[in-house]
Structures are given as C-alpha cells and as structure tokens.
C-alpha cells in the first residue's frame, strides 16, 4: 500500500483495517490509528474559504484563542506555531496557512485530560496569515496572524 491514505473508492474503515494490520506487523500500538477520522476533503481543498467550508463553515473570530506565530520567519520551510484554546469543551484544533496550495496543514484532537493547546511547525509558502481554528461543542472559532516570510542570504 503506497497510495494516499484515504484513496477514493475504498471505505475509510477498510483502509483503517489495513493500516492497523500493518501497524501490528511493525509491533506498534494497533488501536491508536482508529481514533479519529481524516477530513480528506478539507486537506485537499485549495483556498481558505473552500477549506473552511469543508470543515463545516466559516468560523467565528474568537479572542479566546491564543495564536503565537513569529511576525517574521527567516525561512518559510519551518515556521513555529502555538495555538491555545480557552474555549470550553474544545475537542479539535486545526492549523491553516492562508496561501499554501492546500491551506489545512494539520488537525489535532484532544481527549478529556489533555490541554487544548498545541505546538507545531508548518511550511509557509509566502507571506500570509496563519489560522488557528478551534472546534468546541460542534462550533468553529478562529484566530489569525500574519507571518512575513523573508528571503535568505544572497537571494539565490
């Protein structure tokens, strides 16, 4: 199995079963892969609006989301992002990069007992806003901040 994880025409469940078998063969915890569904359509969406639509609609801007990203990144290949949600009952955090070919970089799901915060590093193709989107009680909230991506040394 070298194809994309959620290839068209194969049910999510059977794919997970294959994945689980492979994980077992590699002596890794088996059950972990079945924990959350992959929002494949959101990962392949090509614009910010389309991505939001795939996630369930336009999020509401919230001051209860803390988004820490640098104002200026020396290189867009590695841009640190920290997202902390103070919204009660937060279950998921999504990280989006506005002008990437596919804005959705990743999603994280938090069981009870895990703080609704995440530190990650993402690729930022060009100067644009990074979005932290939070899902709580089935509703979407967001915060965003621009990161300027500068050119390196001699520009080559």
């Amino acid at each position: 199995m070298t194809t994309q994880f959620a290839a068209a025409g194969v049910s999510r469940r059977s794919l997970l079963r294959i994945g689980a078998l492979m994980a077992a063969a590699a002596a890794l915890p088996v059950k972990v892969w079945a924990s959350i569904a992959r929002p494949e359509a959101a990962f392949t969406a090509t614009g910010l609006e389309d991505t939001f639509a795939q996630l369930g609609g336009m999020p509401t801007v919230s001051a209860d989301i803390i988004l820490e990203t640098p104002d200026i990144a020396e290189n867009g290949a590695v841009v640190p992002a920290t997202i902390i949600s103070n919204i009660p009952n937060t279950t998921k955090i999504f990280v989006l990069v506005e002008k990437n070919p596919n804005p959705l970089a990743g999603m994280f799901e938090f069981p009870a007992g895990t703080a609704a915060s995440i530190q990650t590093r993402v690729k930022v193709a060009q100067t644009c806003s990074i979005y932290g989107v939070v899902e709580a009680d089935g509703k979407l909230y967001m915060a965003s901040k621009e990161t300027k991506v500068t050119l390196g040394g001699c520009g080559g």
């Binding site: 200026i72 500068t150 001699c154 520009g155 080559g156």
Partner: protein, 199 residues
C-alpha cells in the same frame, strides 16, 4: 601567533611547496557546472588589478587608467531616454537570481539591489554593504544626474575603482531596458523609493 612560530621553524620549505597562482589552484579545484564554466576564472584587467591590490589600488596611474577604461566601456541608451518603468525596476531590484549555476539561464537576471542597499524604506530586508539609496530621487533628474546614475550602474569603476558593486551593463548582467527600469525605480518621484515613511 601559531603562524609566526611555524614560520620560523619551517621557513626553509615554504617556498618550494606552492608556486601556483590563485588561478592555477582554482582551475584544479573547480569543475564546470551548467552555465558557470571554468572560463569564468579568467580575470580581466580590472579584476586582476583589484585582486592584487585587495581592492585598494594605491598607484595613481593605475587608478586613473582603471577609471578611464571603465568610463570608455559605457554605452548610453540608444534613444537617449534614461527612465523606464519603476514597477518593473522594483522586480529587478528584488531579484537575486541570475548567472549562478543553480539559476535557470532562460530566466531574466536580477539586479539584487536589496542585497546591499536600502531602497524602498518600507522594505525591511535590505543589506548594508552599499549605501542607503532611500529617497534617491531627491537628487533630481538633471542631465548630469541621469548620466552619473547610468554610468554607475553600467560600470561602477568609472567613478570608484575597485568598488564591490557588479558592472551591470559592462558585464551584460542586465540589459538596457532593465537598467532603464532600475533608473526609474531610483529616480521616478512615483517610485516607493522616493516615498518617505510616514510617522
């Protein structure tokens, strides 16, 4: 310190070890790669004089000859028009590519002005090897000013022998239209280079 000590002890052998010129050493240490061939290691008069003097030619005659030779290399715009399009000039000033073996030879070369100079005062990523050129247009567009700027871009050694700036015209890095566009970026009152920062 380390060197001095070694020099005293083994100075006898030093002269036999390396009689090669820098050119010889580079020729056997490098390989052609795409557009960057070994022929680039050949030095012209200016490169040789500046290398040997470490960019500080002390001899007045040498200096004068370098300046005159450089001035003679300059081609003024065929149609007598010095100023092009500042927006295209901005792109040339920002582009750092061109003539490296990693660059696409079919793409236009950049001037990479921002690598060394401040221009638009709103641009944070500027270098400091050359002087700031922010608000350069305040110097006006008199005939001598147009001429001076053109010559400076074409062959900087006409005014400042062994300057570190590339000879954008004389070495064929930028074409005439690109030079006109850079002129506009520097001198056009509408160019962002000439829009001071608001407080």
């Amino acid at each position: 310190m380390i060197r001095t000590l070694g020099f005293v002890v083994f100075t006898v052998f030093a002269s036999v070890a390396f009689a090669d010129t820098s050119y010889d050493v580079l020729m056997r240490s490098m390989t052609d790669k795409n557009q960057a061939t070994l022929s680039r290691l050949n030095q012209d008069d200016i490169q040789e004089a500046c290398s040997q003097s470490r960019d500080q030619p002390g001899n007045a005659d040498v200096l004068k000859a370098l300046r005159e030779q450089s001035l003679a290399s300059v081609t003024l715009p065929a149609d007598g028009i010095f100023i092009g399009d500042w927006q295209r000039g901005a792109a040339v000033a920002n582009n750092g590519r061109g003539l490296q073996y990693s660059d696409d030879p079919s793409a236009p070369n950049g001037g990479n002005c921002y690598a060394c100079h401040q221009l638009d005062p709103r641009e944070l990523a500027y270098g400091t090897l050359g002087p700031s050129l922010a608000n350069y247009g305040a110097r006006g567009q008199s005939e001598p000013m147009l001429n001076y700027t053109w010559v400076k871009l074409w062959n900087t050694h006409a005014y400042n022998a062994c300057s570190h700036m590339p000879r954008f015209g004389a070495q064929g890095i930028l074409d005439e239209q690109q030079l006109k566009d850079i002129m506009a970026y520097l001198l056009d009152p509408a160019s962002p280079v000439n829009q001071p920062l608001e407080d």
